[in-house]
Amino acid sequence: MSYDDWFRKDRLPHIFCAGCGNGTIINCTLAAVDQMNWKKEDTIFVSGIGCSSRAPGYILTDSLHTTHGRAIAFATGVKMAKPDFNVVVFTGDGDMAAIGGNHFIHACRRNIDLTVVCMNNQIYGMTGGQGSPTTPRGCLSSTTPAGCNEAPFDLCDLAIAAGANYVSRWTSYHVKELEKAVKVGLETPGFSFIEVLVQCPTAFGRRNKFRQVMDHVEYLRSHSLLKAKRDRLLEKNQPVPEDMFVVGELMKRNRPALGVKP
């Protein structure tokens, strides 16, 4: 079996724009799920609202496409009622960090056995490019026409502080690493959070000098700083470049978790 079998083939091609990286992240997630040897009937995909949240509609399992920001709350109900199920949540930065921020931190605090894959395109894609809680300072969006003047969230730091067992960050360029990270997330009992920075050519790139899809992917590649490298820099008291973001496994621990398979 390959991960290709996990798609609802009658639903493809999906509605994502040409060049959108969400499809890449679905591939990597399903490739990891496929390696787990999970049964389709025991695996549930849950999502909220937004581009990212259309993902479960293309996956051949029971799936729950819910209301804006609430995916993790719905998933909590599914997982608590049936700990036997493997529950994976697809969410986006606006969905999870803005309207659903409270559910996110509380799921981390409970350390409930979910795997959350956050497709962070740093903007509201589906509604047409409004600023989100992860839009970097200075970036243009339709609601920050003069450049975003608010500080963005570091979702991984948030998850770690709130108590998640597994936290990692990759980008849509790092497909192999992402696949592995999702797999570790799926294996880890407790709350696993994988943030994936993803290109959004339509809503983000167009406004922020990434007219070509590849320009943005290249930016994600060149500005990602491996955690090990960052740690080395810190060790040597060397400055960490400010315009880069850290990728890699940021937290793996074994705190008591909720809703773990009996």
């Binding site: 496409h65 709350a73 909590t76 109900g77 608590m80 009622a81």
Partner: protein, 367 residues
């Protein structure tokens, strides 16, 4: 063997849920409904169920919908402010035809209002509060005994009609302790079985209710709050499909209004007719008992939504309907839509139950 208990309304509600086989409770503390959650927290895990205190009422509603799809009988309890927060996900439950039970122990509003006082101000919100055209079922108990019985009924109706069912009680009944006779067995009506292989939202039966494809049974059902076709796939820009879906969701409830109607008609030949639900029923009963007048009729409603308007027509000589409500006349307005005689609202705000004296005064006033 039945047994006698002296229970608070909220306890009776929780016990009713346990008797009905509720296995999942997701809630958030709010006066005056908290005792339901507390009782469930103490009892549900011992019965193998799951109690979880969520981070807010939005999450509570979300969690019970998620749990319901795994096959659990799921429930939450709240009051006005929390109920308002639940509205969006209530619409989701209606759209996705998810059975669940929501208890609203009503308190004085708007806003934080009167947390410890009684009201019936959410009767229209429950019917129309979520956006779009929805249809739901709302039950109103007037005794602690009914708190128990109607909670069980709420689970059965939710499963049968695949719709959120609301136990719209009030602080008066929720906080009152009263004698209750607990039966040793209760009736359970489960969900319509799903015939494997067919599209999950295809309806072939006259009752317009599709079978329930529980998660984990290999049906690979996609559940979405978007307008969806019979396969469950989003089809949000399809006008005819949307109309057909919303009409079905409303019709499956409204067409069954007489089937699920639950009311008592007392003195049908009377000219003056009280109509009441919830706590004010108690005051009307006191007045009926004290007056012993065949010319005073009483329609006591337990299933308020869908509204059983046929029951009003049982009073053929009615010259006037008197409607005591702990709001400014919400269900009175619904009654006005159906009858040609005057409808006298007897509103009561402030958190206290109507006194018999107040009802007698309304009864005796010159038209």
């Amino acid at each position: 063997m039945t047994r006698v208990e002296f229970w608070q309304g909220n306890t009776a509600c929780a016990e009713g849920a346990l008797a009905a086989g509720c296995t999942f409770f997701g809630g958030y503390p709010i006066t005056p409904s908290t005792e339901v959650a507390e009782h469930m927290a103490a009892k549900l895990p011992k019965k193998g169920g799951v109690f979880i205190q969520m981070e807010d009422e939005i999450a509570s509603m979300a969690s019970i919908i998620g749990a319901s799809w795994t096959g659990a009988r799921a429930m939450t309890a709240t009051s006005g402010p929390g109920f308002s927060l639940m509205m969006e996900n209530i619409g989701f439950a209606v759209m996705t035809e998810t059975p669940c039970v929501v208890v609203n122990v009503q308190r004085g509003g708007p806003s934080t209002g009167q947390p410890t006082m009684s009201a019936q101000g959410d009767m229209m919100q429950v019917r129309f509060g979520s956006h779009g055209d929805i249809a739901i079922i709302a039950l109103c108990p007037a005794t602690v005994q009914e708190m128990y019985e109607l909670t069980i009924k709420a689970f059965n109706l939710a499963d049968k009609y695949r719709v959120p069912v609301f136990l719209m009680t009030d602080e008066t009944i929720g906080h009152m302790r009263e004698k209750i006779i607990v039966p040793d067995t209760v009736e359970r009506v489960g969900r319509k079985p799903f015939s494997a292989g067919s599209p999950p939202f295809r309806v072939t039966d006259k009752d317009l209710i599709p079978g329930f494809p529980t998660f984990g049974t290999g049906q690979h059902v996609h559940v979405t709050g978007l307008t969806h076709d019979e396969r469950g796939y989003p089809a949000a820009t399809h006008p005819a499909l949307h109309e057909a879906l919303v009409r079905r969701l409303v019709d499956k409830i409204e067409n069954a209004r007489y089937e699920m109607a639950d009311y008592d008609v007392i003195n049908p030949d009377a000219e003056q007719v009280f109509v009441a639900y919830g706590a004010p029923v108690r005051t009307v009963m006191q007045v009926m008992h004290d007056k012993k007048d065949k010319n005073i009729g009483f329609l006591r409603i337990r299933t308020v939504w869908p509204f059983p308007e046929k029951a009003l027509f049982a009073f053929k000589n009615a010259k006037r309907f008197l409607v005591p409500e702990m709001n400014l006349g919400q269900i009175a307005r619904e009654i006005e839509r159906h009858v040609c005689v005057p409808v006298r609202t007897i509103p009561k705000l402030g958190g206290e139950l109507h006194t018999p004296k107040e009802l007698v005064a309304a009864l005796e006033e010159k038209p």
